[in-house]
Amino acid sequence: MMRSQIYSFLEVDPGSLRDKMKELVDAGARFSTSVAVDERPINSCFSHTYILFLKDRGYVLLTTKLSSEMPEHDTLTDIVPGVEWAEKEAMELVGIKIRGLPQKRKLILPENWPEDLHPLRKDFDYRYRPVEKADLEAEGLPIGPYHPALHEPESFRLYVRGEEIIDAEYVGFLVHRGVEKVAEGRLTYNQIPFIAERICGICGFIHSTLYCNAVERAAGIDVPERAKWIRSFMLELERIHSHLLLVGVVCHMAGFDTGFMHAWRLRENFMRLAERISGNRKTYGMNLVGGVRRDIDNIAALDFLKSSKKDIEEYVSMLMENRLLIRRCEGIGVLGRQDARKMCVVGPVARASGIDIDVRRDSPYEAYGELSFRVPVYMEGDVLSRVMVRLEEIKESISILEQIAGEMPKGPIMAETRDVPPLIRSIAAGEAPRGEDIHFVITGRDNKVYRWRVRSPTYNNLPALPLMLKGNLIADAPLIIGSIDPCFSCTDRCIVLKEGRRYRLEELVGRGRL
């Protein structure tokens, strides 16, 4: 097992990209994500980097340089079907032409977006907004974008025969906020952690931590041990409240609102602990490049953990006693092991389908190399397994928190500040509550990043949803969708849009709506 997170670079020309990919995949590599970069201002070319994970080599960044006039290469979707979204994103946002990529619908940009305009190119100003035109036409059976059972704006089209779902399609990126563009265009290194934390409304801390990790690695900053342990502590706290939220939502969708209320009651205790430590219940604001801003009172944390452990056990036994809930979740929304591997799913979704992966154990970061914990894996791949994986992980996380609070080293919590050298590439990976989360950074000049790419776990889990929905009943669709714990704002990295019109903050304030 590796004791720290390692990554290596591998450059190939566009012609041999496919062969190299095949070779790596045959060697057991798992595709994480890809990053396309407009490098014309620094290297007079475009680049496309595929990030893969190999058990014995860590993360491998397979890069190919593409000409600045005609950036194009062949698709890898037939080798790894899971690369489709990442390739579509490279095509839409950076304008890399990917030959052979099935192109039915746009992924991120709206259908009426001008063809030759790619927002992540460096000559595109972040304030520019093209004029909006007509909307998509409806087809199939729509669920969303505003639907009482789904809590965020996303849309699914279900193709049905009677009550049975025979196919499904996801239409998303309705709340694409252009977070990465704002970060590259306006924010400085130490301002980005705060926007990174707001990528997700639940698991924000993992995003700010990984962003900081990536910059710290690029700059060669040694983060003090205690800061690492504090980050791990907050990450586990975040995992517990995120999992409790999802378990509650699944209960709610299955019609068991008592389970929902109790899950959220217990979750509230963890939110309060986070508030006591960091000054806020969700946006902890703890991370800066080089360390953390606040220290933890170990003793108070230990006391709290003792009582909450018992509460969680009682809650789980109450759930397991409920046969209605179990029967409602059992055997529906099945994602088989083969399909799960093909679609490159991550996190609890992968672990519920028999794939034993966890970044905390496989490629440790922060203090995880020194902590011991179990990674629960289930083989069934149904909604119940996805819930069980999370319930077990909550218990593991409480044990991790106890280890941290008991063994945390003393010392400083922030490294000495130093300049970040320009044009260094680095990545950081971590296990968010929903699975592997990846941040890729190219450092820039003037205290700013040149490129920052975020790939949240739901980005890899969503494409597998149609496979889970097929063959199930319409009534189970919300529960199945909910069971992957989808986080659409993470995935969309999202502009406040309402009725096709953007409100200015001043207008909202004037109306007393803020």
Partner: protein, 165 residues
């Protein structure tokens, strides 16, 4: 079913009748930042670290205007952390809604000083007072305090005639 009932009875009512009871705010909670108008010297350190641009600095007609707009604030408390004068306090206030937008602003205008040579406004009176105190504390002599950085550089290099032009 037995456990569900047991848990319900043992737990009782959890919901608190807020706003009819006081909110629970732990010590160290990050609420509205408050500028102490008597302490602020207008250096703008807070504005340069503020992630959402809630704090802005403008210069007009010999005054530097520091404005903090809570409507944009994300309550990260970075302003309070970097303020060299401890002029920004992070309060525990979070009930900030109002019918009037102006209630969300804290605006402070500080008088600026002209450079003795080129005549442009370059720093606030309070900034210079602070610099003077710091220099005196170190037992050094205070000189060329009323010159802007560019003119001071020229004068130090013996190019006073160039600066005068």
């Amino acid at each position: 079913m037995r456990k569900v009932v047991k848990m319900a009875v043992e737990t009782g009512v959890v919901t608190r009748p807020y706003p009819f009871v006081a909110p629970e705010v732990p010590p160290g909670f990050r609420g509205r930042p408050k500028i102490d108008f008597n302490l602020c010297i207008g250096c703008g350190a807070c504005a340069s670290v503020c992630p959402p641009n809630a704090i802005t600095v403008e210069e007009k007609d010999g005054f530097r205007r520091i404005s903090l707009f809570t409507g944009r604030c994300i309550f990260c408390a970075r302003c309070g952390e970097v303020c060299p004068e401890k002029a920004i306090k992070i309060t525990e206030d979070f009930e900030l809604s109002s019918d009037e937008k102006i209630d969300l602003y804290q605006i402070l205008e500080l008088k600026m000083v002209r450079c003795e040579i080129c005549g442009r406004f370059f720093a606030t009176e309070r900034e210079l007072k602070k610099v003077k105190e710091e220099i005196e504390k170190k037992g050094m002599e205070v000189e060329k305090l009323n010159l802007c950085p560019e003119c001071r550089e020229k004068v130090s290099a013996g190019l006073e005639s160039l600066a005068r032009r």
